[in-house]
Symmetry: C2
Subunit: 158 residues, 2 copies
């Protein structure tokens, strides 16, 4: 069969389209992440991992174990330790003993840490609103639906 | 104005929805990436950065400078050096001089490296096809359209 140069290009197999989508998903998320990282550094002098650790702590009024933070953020315990040490030095977080378990510690934000995080989180939400500003409510709903579908399938496999 | 308990919940401001989308985008891409990383390690004994470097080289028959690889993959030159050293040791890549520039080197895959990458890339495409298998052609087109929109806006700002 010879190709007709006037016809539409033959559609690719769907595996190629899925690959194309994956590469675009990866590119978009790393571009947004780089932009957030840049603004955090510039406006707050914060690193992204610090923001992520404080974000996890801000949703846990009773505090989190190091291993819990590490699991939530998918990064190593060693990296978290360095960040928590710095937060404690600056009076933004503290380590509290777990009653009944002498070896375990929980990390909790101080009121000062919570207030500072709230400020930065408000700024962060505004940046995301601006960066994703080209997407309207329908775009967002459609994408969330498909992303939920994708992560649900991966969570089932785990 | 008092809330009517029987009415639909009030819709969130769109900034909250954009933030929700961003967190889901980040979650999905890191879950897919973790799964690819796991399979590369298990089936090919390769790291993801090695796969990414070979992927960039496989699309550049004339080779790439270290700085070009580093820019394409958004990782530091130092990390790339370690990977390229290993590839060269294993006979999968080689450094070639740039005519007219005694200080510059280009890295190129060897035929052995290209053949091995092609094998692994075929496997990689099949994994992505499986992992993203819940998304049909319409889902894919819709998402690609919106992701392109998002990255175009970010590229304009750069």
């Amino acid at each position: 069969m010879t190709a007709n140069p006037l016809s539409e290009p033959e559609s690719e197999p769907i595996s190629k389209e899925r690959l194309r989508l994956w590469l675009k998903l990866l590119k978009a998320s790393s571009m947004v992440e780089d932009e957030v990282r840049r603004r955090l550094r510039q406006n707050c002098n914060w690193t992204l991992p610090r923001f992520d650790v404080m974000s996890a702590l801000s949703r846990a009024p009773d505090g989190l174990k190091m291993s819990e933070i590490s699991k939530m953020l998918r990064v190593s315990n060693g990296n978290i330790t360095g960040i928590v040490d710095k937060l404690a030095e600056e009076g933004l977080a503290l380590r509290v003993a777990v009653p009944g378990d002498r070896r375990a510690n929980r990390v909790r934000l101080t009121p000062k840490g919570q207030a500072l995080f709230d400020d930065h989180a408000t700024a962060h939400e505004a940046w995301i609103d601006e960066i994703l500003g080209g997407l309207n409510a329908d775009d967002i709903d459609g994408m969330i639906l498909r992303l939920d579908h994708l992560t649900a399938a991966l969570e089932e496999q785990e």
